[in-house]
């Protein structure tokens, strides 16, 4: 079922007026809550990554009563911590012509014209304040000898606007947000619940008024009521099983909200990172990303002949295929993420992949070492070479690295309006969990920016637009809606524990991941997606009949935790494939092999697909309903990129 464009879409609440004034105007038009009244409102924040921690801390500073939940043992461990590269901000400290407008423009263009202009402009505006805030918190950004902040150009940007803290920017920013959160916990403004997993959303009269959680230490299922719920629960990259996400990252919170009525937008926009360390065997649990900067000096190649068994150094030059240099002479090894990722897939599909698994391509530094010397290369990439050796046991100074693309970030997420509120009143969604700012493709160093913009600056202002219309504290967990959802959650747990089948949860997750990666990974087509849509329900059915979850629910039970998450992935994967199949174009992180130019470039269809796909749940195993939010481009001219 496809509804007409925008007809039954909720209002995106984008303010009127010129793009540069929308956010200022919106702040002015937003409702305010008297400081004495703020403390009467309870805000439930799920997730403690950059978006969740910064929102919880800031809302608490404003006076709201905040309760924050995370599945890790401490809020400091959320996966934002693993971001390496940096955070963009339109500070123009380098005097190289950067501006809020340019950052806005680059982000819309980078998103392949599938994001909302107004949201992106607001993001660019907030970016400068984020840096100020983080420095005030003690984030040790890289500095020059003069003591001023250093910048670098990142992800192919023409200006140097990326702030960084060695290769650990995400960690340092998260610790900044975590320390702000800790300050508010100490002040009594935030109650923190670590090792607590949200398992469902509770609606009262159609409004999000609470959550049901499981205490991961005692197994107790209980609920929390609040005046509004904020989901900052990250992306769904682990639907592929292997990804650069942490093992615990999951879609449960967002998907449960989706099942309760929240629209899920653009799930098919998934980002693949080209320079990850390849899979070494079936036991592999996770993929590790290496900075893309390696491609500045490394040359990508595979043997010309399929089934090559010689060691890389023994393969003569004329039997090597430097396929990126061959296909994209002007960009060569620096071709954009999606193009170089697909290039790797193609040669591996032809049987020319390298390594034990045949899923890998060489990234060779021999030429660079010859040119600049080993010391220069060590100076530039020493830590990356070290990390590579730690994982693979190979010395990349002597033999080429092996790399392969891996899922890294998901642009899709729950649909939100300009206030970051979903179509369920009272349900706000922040950070990677929402769909709003990156369109079909996220630029490097923009994820951290978005998480913090949402948490520090956007939600503290926009939340009042919802709360001011609500009488605080009207709902408690005594309400029958809570009892009902708690009962459903407990029932499901009981079910998991009593299937007593023959297969482990992980084995299902692996099988699902492989299937989704195969049919809905780097390249997709109608036929494959249709096949996946047939196979996923079969696997799901087997899961519910044959999974084995040992132990009970009175204690730590990691298999039970995983079972719940995988069960949701088994449903979500279907949604992902529906979206990928419905979007009959190629754009950003979504590549449909049917829609490409003769040169293998993605072919966008702006006429028919310049919209946000917002999916409404219709029941497990039923085709969801598509709602469309039209995207208007008033400031940025739609253009086709070319890297030839």
């Amino acid at each position: 079922m496809v509804s007409d464009i925008s007809k039954d879409m909720p209002d995106s609440k984008i303010p009127s007026g010129p793009i540069a004034e929308k956010w200022t105007k919106h702040k002015m038009d937003s409702r305010l809550i008297n400081p004495n009244n703020k403390r009467k409102y309870t805000v439930l924040v799920v997730g403690s990554g950059l978006a969740g921690a910064s929102a919880a801390a800031t809302l608490s500073e404003l006076g709201y009563k905040v309760k924050c939940f995370c599945y890790q043992d401490s809020p400091r461990r959320a996966h934002s911590i693993a971001a390496q590269g940096g955070i963009n901000a339109a500070k123009n400290y380098q005097n190289d012509g950067d501006s809020v407008y340019r950052l806005f423009y680059d982000t819309v263009k980078g998103g392949d014209f599938r994001s909302r202009e107004a949201n992106v402009h607001r993001l660019a505006e907030c970016s400068t304040e984020i840096i100020d805030q983080c420095v005030a918190q003690g984030v040790p950004f890289a500095r020059e000898y003069g003591g001023l902040l250093a910048n670098r150009s990142f992800g192919g940007a023409q200006v140097s606007r990326t702030f960084y803290a060695r290769g650990q920017t995400g960690q340092q920013l998260l610790i900044g947000a975590y320390s702000a959160l800790s300050k508010q916990i100490a002040a009594g403004g935030v109650e923190m619940y670590p090792r607590t997993e949200m398992l469902d959303l509770v609606l009262v009269d159609g409004h999000a008024k609470g959550i049901v959680v499981r205490d991961m230490v005692t197994g107790r299922v209980h609920s929390f009521a609040g005046d509004t719920v904020l989901l900052a629960t990250g992306g769904y990259g682990n639907v592929f099983y292997l990804s650069t996400n942490a093992m615990g990252c999951n879609v449960t919170a967002a998907y449960r909200a989706h099942k309760r009525g929240a629209y899920f937008a653009n799930p098919c926009y998934t980002q693949i990172h080209p320079t990850c360390i390849p899979v070494s065997g079936a036991y592999q649990s996770k993929l590790t990303l290496m900075s893309e900067s390696l491609r500045n000096d490394g040359r990508v190649w595979v043997p010309k002949k399929a089934g090559e068994t010689r060691r890389p150094r023994d393969i003569p030059e004329d039997e090597r295929d430097y396929y990126l240099e061959r296909k994209y002479p002007s960009f060569g090894n620096l071709a954009p993420r999606d193009i170089s990722s697909r290039g790797a897939k193609e040669v591996c599909d032809e049987g020319r992949g390298v390594g034990d698994t045949g899923l890998g391509v060489y990234l060779d530094f021999a030429a660079a070492i010859d040119r600049d010397g080993e010391d220069a290369i060590r100076e530039r990439y020493g830590n990356l070479f070290q990390m590579y050796e730690q994982i693979t046991g190979e010395n990349a100074y002597q033999t080429p690295m092996r790399i392969f693309p891996a899922v890294h970030y998901t642009m899709g997420g729950l649909w939100v309006d300009y206030n970051l509120m979903s179509n369920i009143p009272g349900l706000h969604v922040l950070g990677e969990a929402n769909f709003s700012d990156h369109g079909a493709n996220r630029l490097g160093a923009s994820a951290l920016m978005q998480g913090l913009a949402d948490g520090y600056f956007v939600i503290p202002c926009t939340i009042a637009n919802y709360l001011a219309g609500e009488t605080p504290g009207t709902v408690t967990t005594e309400h029958e809606a809570f009892k009902k959802v708690e009962e459903e959650v407990s029932q499901r747990i009981h079910q998991f524990l009593n299937i007593n089948g023959n297969r482990s949860v992980d084995s299902f997750h692996r099988e699902l991941g492989l299937m989704v990666w195969d049919k809905c990974g780097m390249a997709r087509d109608r036929e494959g997606l249709t096949e996946a849509l047939k196979k996923i329900p079969e696997l799901r059915e087997e899961f519910w009949k044959n999974v084995r979850v040992p132990g009970d629910n009175n204690n730590v039970n990691q298999e039970l935790e995983k079972a719940g998450r995988v069960a949701d992935f088994l449903e979500f994967a279907e949604l992902l494939c529906y979206d990928a199949r419905a979007r009959e174009e190629s754009c950003g992180g979504h590549f449909r092999t049917e829609y490409q130019t003769e040169e293998g470039e993605a072919m966008r269809d702006d006429e028919n697909y310049a919209y946000v796909s917002a999916w409404e749940h219709e029941g497990v195993g039923k085709e969801p309903t598509l709602h469309k939010e039209n995207l208007e481009f008033e400031n940025v001219k739609l253009a086709v990129r070319s890297y030839k």
């Binding site: 902040l149 960690q171 800790s182």
Partner: protein, 257 residues
């Protein structure tokens, strides 16, 4: 194909925090040398589940050495063999065919065992809550470049800030002292101009919080530094000792914080 190892594991099993624990023996068969240590445990757990048992519980998340969630004391060494790595970064090529590997939780009274190899490290969060922050309300910040910070200061602050809060320092210390963890945070913030205003108050309250949570005392053996996956230097403890002494004198004779 990768070489395979046959190993014997001696694993601490403890059904819950209240229950008694003991070492149990498992065979880890056909472990590829290319697997990571935690993947080895995954493989063993698959076998345990297939045999109808309860898998070994252990904390882990990012599996790339940054979140600080993984723990494990491997053959008596927190985070196992290799310098500057977390357990999740240890790979099986560090072991020999036929090895017996002892796997225990991070042991400290301040880190009670929750189950098997999982421990509760919320004491660390409480220490941070006692003062491990700069009170900078969102929105009140001045321009990021308003206060230049000399590069050596920023770099030294970064070295301390690299702490991932894993607790290996506590696990390695024979006194279960948290000095390296506390010092890393106290000095990260204390060195920066933004953190100076609360410096004295911070060191006093964080050290007191550390004491209240039942961590032991530092006896300058530097076991913490040796196992720290981020190789944080014990000289931050030196600085904290000095800062604590100065702040104590100030508090005693000059002012209340």
């Amino acid at each position: 194909m990768a070489k395979k190892l046959q190993l014997t594991l001696k694993v601490w099993r403890q059904p819950s925090g209240k229950a008694e624990g003991r070492i149990e023996t498992y065979d880890a068969k056909d472990i590829p040398v290319t697997a990571s240590f935690l993947e080895m445990l995954d493989i063993v757990n698959e076998g345990i589940i297939a045999d109808g048992g309860e898998p070994i519980a252990f904390d882990h998340d990012c599996r790339e050495g940054i979140c600080g969630m993984c723990s494990l004391t491997i053959n008596g060494c927190p985070h196992g063999p290799g310098k500057g790595v977390t357990t999740c970064q240890v790979h099986m090529r560090s072991f020999q065919d036929g090895d017996t590997i002892w796997i225990e939780p991070f042991r400290a009274d301040a880190f009670p065992v929750l189950k098997d190899l999982m421990v509760d490290r919320t004491a660390f969060d409480h220490i941070i809550q006692a003062g491990g922050f700069i009170s900078a309300r969102t929105g009140s910040a001045v321009d990021a470049n308003a206060t230049p910070i000399p590069k050596p200061v920023a770099d030294a602050a970064f070295d301390a800030a690299a702490c991932i809060g894993c607790g290996a320092c506590v696990a390695a210390c024979k006194n279960a002292s948290a000095m390296l963890f506390v010092a890393a945070k106290v000095e990260h913030l204390g060195m920066l101009p933004q953190g100076k205003a609360e410096k004295d108050r911070r060191v006093l309250s964080m050290v007191r919080a550390m004491d209240d949570h039942g961590f032991g005392n530092c006896t300058n053996q530097y076991e913490c530094e040796a196992v720290c996956p981020k190789e944080i230097s014990a000289t931050y403890i030196t600085k904290m000792n000095r800062d604590f002494a100065a702040a104590s004198v100030k508090e005693a004779v000059v002012t209340e914080f």
